[in-house]
Symmetry: C2
Subunit: 219 residues, 2 copies
């Protein structure tokens, strides 16, 4: 069964919103995420519900059905595989790949995804540290946490970012903070939650806003 580009984008957005908050996803949230109007969202939701991709009760938001969830995951799988291709093979900087992957993720061909994945050597995460689902849709949610909530003097591994904007990613590049960097929080300012951190062998001061957008895992 095949879905339109727009349907796939809605499913993806709903999936991401569902991951964030555990509640049913509201029309307005979807509208904001997709940069569209609530009325357009209602229209599309009805179509998705008719195709059994979402559970929908008027005025009560939506949740993905099994079928909707797996469709969303397959789109995300493609998106992340293409991001790996763009960064690892074509040498794109990691902050420039999102828009292109947004287009590539809608290419329809099972075989293409399978062969691309093999060509890339079965990567488990994309350039931003997000896990890549396998062909059955399975992926392990790394138990990552935001740097802002980390303990002092523990060694962490940078595993991903929350904000994927070019501005933020370029900031990280400038500070040599990459996926895989070792990070330790050396001190924390109670007043504004800014902190001094050690990244591999360099020390930096970063604001709360930065620390809120870096994911790390204990190591």
């Amino acid at each position: 069964m095949k879905y339109s580009r727009s349907e796939e984008n809605y499913l993806k957005a709903i999936f991401h919103l569902q991951q964030a908050g555990s509640r049913g996803v509201s029309t307005n949230d979807i509208a904001e995420a997709m940069e569209t109007k609530a009325s357009s969202v209602t229209d599309m939701i009805k179509k998705l519900a008719a195709k059994d991709l979402v559970n929908y009760v008027k005025y009560q938001g939506v949740s993905l059905t099994e079928s909707g969830r797996s469709t969303a995951i397959m789109v995300i799988r493609k998106h992340r595989l293409w991001e790996v291709f763009l960064v690892n093979k074509l040498d794109f900087p990691w902050d420039k790949v999102h828009d292109i992957a947004e287009q590539l993720e809608h290419i329809k061909s099972e075989e293409l995804v399978t062969k691309l994945e093999a060509f890339l050597d079965y990567p488990s995460v994309d350039p931003h540290g997000d896990p890549i689902p396998d062909q059955h849709g399975n992926f392990k949610q790394t138990q990552k946490r935001l740097l802002v909530k980390c303990d002092l003097n523990e060694k962490y591994l940078c595993v991903g970012v929350k904000d994927s904007s070019s501005e933020f990613l370029r900031f990280l590049d400038k500070k040599h903070i990459n996926i895989g960097s070792n990070i330790t929080v050396l001190s924390k300012e109670e007043f504004d939650d800014s902190m001094q951190i050690q990244v591999d062998d360099q020390k930096h001061f970063i604001s709360k806003k930065i620390a809120e957008n870096i994911y790390v895992s204990a190591q």
Copy 2:
């Protein structure tokens, strides 16, 4: 300036038709090539004319403007580069890449094409032997000719195919006829234009229909 997928497909079809016959391209020809109806073609032609992509006089067919031609060539460039990627990097057989390349050719990103081309090492032809335009739209039309029109006992180089259907390409694979194979016409049957040919170190009998779909160049 950006054009829709549909507009790009029309421009591409018109370009190919224009290459084939030198006359202005007719509405019906476009409709047949695009597997759509003549009335739809008229609609689209008007839009393309309004955007100065084609020259259009009612009832007299169309021809591409400079802008239309270069847009078409850029789509063809992308199509052929992606075909090379699919065959050389992802190991697709050459008869399976067309449909996927039809999708990939519409991905919008100058940078992607540039980087893809470099990654593929600036190929000059696609897997079917068709030339790949450079970033300025230049490409040399190889002075190829159909095998059916070749002289006896001359050495030729297989440079492309006219028919790109899976059936035909698989036939060629079976006979080990590839782009780059050496071909010599050993004998020709006047009655039905069938011929005996030497392909590298193998001999085959082929019908007129086969010989009409293989392009060679003198060597």
